[in-house]
Symmetry: C2
């Protein structure tokens, strides 16, 4: 069964199309590497690559990204709207299919060690690859940003996981980590009362009372006249969708309100939906290998391997 | 994206291992055909084959099954515990992955026409391939069984869809159809009161009041001391799992009882679970192409096709 871990490096260059296309071409030339997407963002002056393949190919492609970006980008002259700490700002490994987030974390850690040595850039492990709870949240590492990072690194608590202990002003620092695919939802309330959305977002976003790794942004859909919540779920295994929806319904009860409809934004992993189905159907002991499509993948990939 | 339709022919021979192994070997020799399973059943004196592949391969394999079974089995001498009407009793086409049941029905109809002409056997279309509502239920066609089938065919209402109008005593008749994968559930109640299970099964199995294509069998788990329902879902798209569970909970309310746990038996299609997740999460407008794994299949199969 094919294990699919993808990487989604963000680099701090979104204007130089020739450079980006050149890097894409070099990635596509790596044997067995598959480029899934390249998204240039001129306003934020950054580009997000997405590629996958076997471990060797992903690592080789990753080193190409560091080599090219660190050779091209001088952070002392970088301007853009998005918070960032370095030329290769973040490099997440995402457990996409038939792979656990622990496997993605193992890839990330091995890759990060090599990047620190080879490119002499400070490396912070984040997400499921983090070695301390404080570094699980990528925003906590990014705090202070490029402009404040030399000072941040002076604090021993912010010694990097790999690479030099001092901040190279041209390269900046880099964050390498592992995560599940992020799930983005938009929940429309049954009311136009923005206070209901604000209360709920506040109640569920607290550092202690909140849901770990889940972010809530209140808003209003003027066309529909309905308050809404934008929801970002960092780890749908740790915080299943049914529990998030249940918590929202509990808070909205105070306003005599509920959820009128939910929309998904972007893709959703099979497991995030199946978890919620099993909960509501009261199914116990179910494994994802018992899904018809997953079992078929196993059978067919074995056949192809055996010839 | 690979479309996977499998076939699950049942033949009325479960004792002659050399014959079954010979047929398996002939199937495996068909280019691009993949045998998924062969299950001989001596008690019932029948064997269930399961194979898949591109349309051409599946048809070629199917003709091999008819040729071999009709050449080997003489129904005048067949004995076994399972109800059956012919040497190749049933030949379902199952929409397993990236295929709709309508596509499976189209395959079944084309295959059935050819079988009727080539082998001079009466063919009945069933399930989603049926041309009349009465023939959707395979049990309605099978009623009367081999022993009563010559008489049944005398009724113009039971003229076959293809093949001769008279019953060949040696071959019997055959049923070719299309369906989704069957979902089997076991729901344990919160009570040991068998009447609650019996009431619920009776209430939901009625010809008019019941849930179409869903069968309920009441029982008792003596070890746990809990009544239970065995549930067979013929078309999880037409009757989603959440609706079945909801109907059971409604009936059990009369006894102050509920469902304590549900177990799945065998494999469950992704779509059956996702439908129920979407319902409870109140997600609208979601397409299966928005599942990470499904989208990845699309992307990766395109890459491989393009080289």
């Amino acid at each position: 069964m094919t294990k699919i871990i993808s990487v989604v490096p963000n680099i701090s260059e979104g204007l130089d199309a020739a450079f980006i296309e050149g890097l894409r071409a070099r990635l596509e030339a790596v044997p067995e590497l598959m480029v899934l997407d390249v998204a240039m963002d001129q306003v934020r002056n950054r580009t997000i690559f997405s590629f996958t393949g076997p471990r060797e190919a992903v690592f080789q492609g990753g080193f190409l990204v560091y080599e090219a970006a660190l050779g091209r980008i001088d952070m002392r002259h970088h301007e853009g709207e998005y918070p960032r700490i370095g030329a290769v700002d973040a490099f997440p490994f995402v457990a996409l299919k038939n792979a656990t987030v622990e496997e993605a974390a193992e890839w990330a850690q091995a890759f990060a060690q090599e990047v620190g040595q080879r490119f002499q850039v400070p490396v912070y492990l984040f997400g499921e690859a983090a070695r301390t709870p404080m570094r699980r949240d990528i925003e906590a590492i990014r705090e202070g940003e490029y402009e404040g990072f030399a000072q941040k690194m002076a604090d021993p608590a912010w010694k990097p996981d790999f690479g030099p202990d001092t901040f190279p002003a041209d390269k900046g620092a880099t964050m390498i980590g592992a995560r599940l695919p992020i799930v983005n939802l938009k929940a429309y309330l049954t009311t136009g009362d923005e206070e209901a959305a604000e209360w709920t977002a506040h109640a569920l976003s607290g550092a202690t009372s909140g849901m770990p790794g889940v972010k809530f942004y209140p808003g209003l859909d003027r066309t529909r006249g309905l308050a809404l919540l934008n929801i970002t779920v960092g780890n749908y295994r740790a915080t299943p969708l049914y529990r998030i929806l249940g918590a929202i319904r509990t808070e909205l009860h105070r306003f005599g309100a509920g959820i009128s409809r939910v929309e998904t934004v972007g893709l959703v992993p099979q497991g995030a939906l199946i978890d919620s189905a099993l909960h509501h159907l009261q199914v116990v002991g179910f494994q994802e290998e018992e899904v018809v499509e997953t079992r078929l993948d196993q059978i067919l990939s074995q056949r192809f391997t055996l010839g």
